[in-house]
Amino acid sequence: MKLLRMIGVGALLHTKQLSRSPFEIATALIVPVVQATLAVYLFRAGGEPGRLLEAAVGAGLMGVWSSVLFGSGGAIQNQRWQGTLEMIMLAPRPPALMILPITLATAVTGTYAMLATLLWGRLLYGVPLDFAHPLLFLLAVPGCVLGLGMFGLLLAATFVLMRNANALTNTLEYPIWLVSGMLVPLTVLPGWTGPIAAALPTTWGARAVHEAASGGPVWPSLGICLAISLGCLITGALMMTYVERRARAAATLALA
């Protein structure tokens, strides 16, 4: 219980901190709304006005992924720049438990994008919020956010090992949007992308949210998303422990 409390309080603290950044908020709210507008006009131009809810939900999911990718990928570096990395690593807890609340917070901040695109769709374009499973949608979104937050820990641990992590961060936004079927159905992609998509928690999380919105069995997708994410969490925690020990031994914790 103490562990869950620590993760919960930590996630809340970092969510509050991220929510005070005008840059984070403007990016989390405005950019997804622009992308959702683009999606709506594309769906309309394609003669698919009945799928506007799918467009709004898809654009929101894209915003969640962007938040996790840039926030979690840079979690360690951001703490280093703020001068708080040493204090976090000094805490008498495994390092992964100290970083997990940060990556969860980036996913929670990403839900601002989902809220913004849904509200924008309803208020400006009259998109009916007729969710096939309204209650399951309210479960699927936090489930997807939790999954992506755990996946974020693996990103944070991987990126801290890579000298040119920023290059990967900037490059990974569109491929994951594409391969995870957030807006483009997986059926139109080449067959070889299938196994990659199946291994990503983003694919199953997006699928669960889309199924809750448009109809389909939500639980299996959500379960697979959380199972893969748990695997990512364990791998990320092991990597984080290794990275922390190596950085302590080499006295490079504070060095970029």
């Binding site: 403007a26 507008t37 769906f43 309309r44 131009a45 394609g46 920023n166 807006l183």
Partner: protein, 262 residues
């Protein structure tokens, strides 16, 4: 006059080299060369699925748009990073024309933009199987160059705002997202409301993308010339606006003693 060109050319190149103080070749390739190709594929597959337009529409449009990434952020960095790294005061103390200094900064970024657009067009065409008439290539290259310059001056205009406002990166991020929507690169202009089309006419990329599409369709330079001329006019307009804003905000920041305020 030679000294002025030297200031613009050499100054721009030195400032560009300074960029590699913090970036790396891997970051450059990953962010600027690989990223736009995935963006192109994303919209091409979305367009295919919705049946909005053919691959040529998305390949050409997104290749032209790819130039905007380095140009808009580069133009913004040209001014905003001087403040961030504490060198803005030194630049503004220079007895030479600051307008020339900053306009010179745009040239390497525009060169970058051209490189990115050519690379995106080449890879996109190879991956999705687009054939272009060979005789259209010189005019297409000129179109991409004009688009890059136009975007660079647009970026510099945003950068000039960095002399007045602190969060200029929010403006750049939102502007790049708006270019996706308003330039008709991914949604055919006919599918956008009138006011969005009107705003798009005043933005870089819109006319260059239209000109490039005419060229790739094999309609010849004569058909593309009006759109290309419009893009030149838009670029010139932003160069003028950037120069005016830089002068205005420099004077204001001296008066308010807010040069290095972060």
């Amino acid at each position: 006059m030679t000294a002025l060109f030297r200031l613009i050319g050499t100054g721009g190149v030195i400032a560009y080299r300074a960029l590699f103080n913090w970036t790396t070749p891997a970051m450059f390739i990953g962010s600027l060369l690989v990223g736009p190709i995935f963006q192109l594929l994303f919209f091409a597959y979305l367009g295919r699925q919705l049946g909005v337009a053919d691959d040529r529409f998305y390949i050409v449009g997104n290749a032209v748009l790819a130039a905007s990434l380095s140009c808009v952020f580069g133009g913004t960095m040209a001014v905003a990073n001087e403040r961030r790294f504490g060198t803005l005061g030194h630049v503004l103390l220079s007895p030479r024309s600051r307008t020339a200094v900053f306009l010179g900064r745009v040239l390497p970024y525009a060169g970058n933009g051209l490189l990115i657009a050519v690379s995106t067009l080449t890879v996109g065409s190879l991956l999705l199987g687009l054939r272009m008439p060979p005789d259209a290539l010189p005019a297409l290259l000129a179109t991409l160059a004009v688009a890059s310059l136009s975007c660079g001056f647009f970026g510099l205009t945003l950068g000039a705002l960095g002399l007045r406002f602190r969060d200029v990166w929010v403006v750049s991020n939102v502007s790049v997202a708006l270019l996706l929507l308003l330039t008709g690169v991914n949604v055919p202009a006919a599918g956008l409301p009138g006011w969005m089309r009107a705003v798009g006419q005043a933005l870089p990329i819109t006319h260059a993308a239209a000109a490039a599409r005419q060229l790739v369709a094999g309609k010849g330079f004569a058909a593309a010339a009006p759109a290309l001329a419009a893009e030149v006019a838009v670029g010139f307009g932003y160069a003028l606006l950037a120069a005016t804003l830089l002068k205005l905000f420099e004077a204001e920041s001296r008066r308010r003693a807010s040069l290095d305020t972060m």
